[in-house]
C-alpha cells in the first residue's frame, strides 16, 4: 500500500451507480485523512434524496464495503454534484447570521435541530469567531446548536 492510491472506493461507487442504471461520472481524490469520491451526472439527484438522506446511506455503505475489503482506515467521503460543499456553505452562512444576532442582542441564539454532521459544519464555521461560543443542546431529533456571547 504505502503511498499508492486506493481506487477501490471509486470502483465501488461506479459499480453501484452502474447497477442503478445512472449515467454518471465518478472522480476520486484523497489525502491523509479521507478518500473523496465525487459523482457527477444528469439524473444523479436520486443519490442525494430528501435532506441528503440517500447520500448518507450511500456514504455509510461505501465506507463499510471498503473497510470490509481492505481494512482501509481512512474515512470515505462520498459527494454528489458537490452537494455537501453547497450544504456546508449554506449552514456556515446561517451560523454566521445567527452569530451576528447573538452579538447584536447579547443573548444566546438557538438554531434549528440538525444532524451531528450538520451541527459540526456550524461549529466549524464559527470556531474562529472570538465573539461567540457554540454548544449543542437537546436530545435526539431535537439536538441543535446554541450560540452564546463569549464572556470577554
Amino acid at each position: 500500500m504505502g503511498s499508492s492510491r486506493n481506487t477501490l472506493p471509486a470502483e465501488i461507487v461506479k459499480g453501484i451507480v452502474g447497477h442503478i442504471g445512472l449515467n454518471a461520472r465518478v472522480t476520486s481524490w484523497e489525502d491523509e485523512k479521507e478518500i473523496h469520491v465525487d459523482v457527477w451526472g444528469d439524473d444523479v439527484a436520486l443519490l442525494i434524496g430528501k435532506g441528503g438522506k440517500t447520500l448518507e446511506a450511500l456514504q455509510e455503505l461505501v465506507s463499510a464495503m471498503v473497510a470490509g475489503k481492505t481494512g482501509e482506515r481512512r474515512r470515505v467521503q462520498v459527494d454528489v454534484e458537490k452537494y455537501r460543499e453547497r450544504k456546508r456553505r449554506r449552514l456556515a452562512e446561517k451560523g454566521r447570521e445567527a452569530a451576528e444576532k447573538c452579538v447584536r442582542t447579547g443573548m444566546p441564539v438557538s438554531m434549528e435541530p440538525m444532524s451531528s454532521a450538520e451541527r459540526k459544519m456550524v461549529h466549524d464555521a464559527l470556531k474562529d469567531d472570538g465573539r461567540v461560543i457554540t454548544r449543542s443542546s437537546g436530545e435526539g431529533m431535537e439536538r441543535h446548536v446554541v450560540i452564546y456571547p463569549s464572556e470577554e
Binding site: 465501488i12 459499480g15 453501484i16 447497477h19 442503478i20 442504471g21 439524473d43 436520486l46 443519490l47 434524496g49 438522506k53 440517500t54 448518507e56 446511506a57 450511500l58 455509510e60 455503505l61 463499510a64 464495503m65 470490509g68 475489503k69
Partner: protein, 77 residues
C-alpha cells in the same frame, strides 16, 4: 435491483459466494430477500441495523426510478 443488492452484499461479507437474493414482484411493489452465510448476517445488518437501513434507503431510491413505489428488503435468517 437484484443485481444491485447482490453487488452491495458481496462487498460486505466474508463469503461472497454464499450471497443469494430472491425477488417477488407485484405491479408496483418489490420484495427482495437477502440470504448470506450465517456468520455474515451481522455484517449486512450492522450495529443497530445501520447497514441494512442504509441498504433499504438506497435500494428504495433506485427502485422508485424503475417505477416501484413499495419496496421491502429483508434478511433471511
Amino acid at each position: 435491483m437484484k443485481e444491485l443488492l447482490e453487488y452491495i452484499a458481496r462487498h460486505l461479507v466474508d463469503n461472497p459466494d454464499q450471497v443469494e437474493v430472491s425477488v417477488r414482484e407485484g405491479e408496483k411493489s418489490l420484495i427482495l430477500e437477502l440470504q448470506v452465510a450465517p456468520q455474515d448476517t451481522g455484517k449486512v445488518i450492522g450495529r443497530n441495523g445501520r447497514i441494512i437501513n442504509a441498504i433499504r434507503t438506497l435500494i428504495k431510491a433506485a427502485a422508485v426510478k424503475k417505477g416501484y413505489t413499495n419496496t421491502i428488503v429483508d434478511v433471511k435468517d
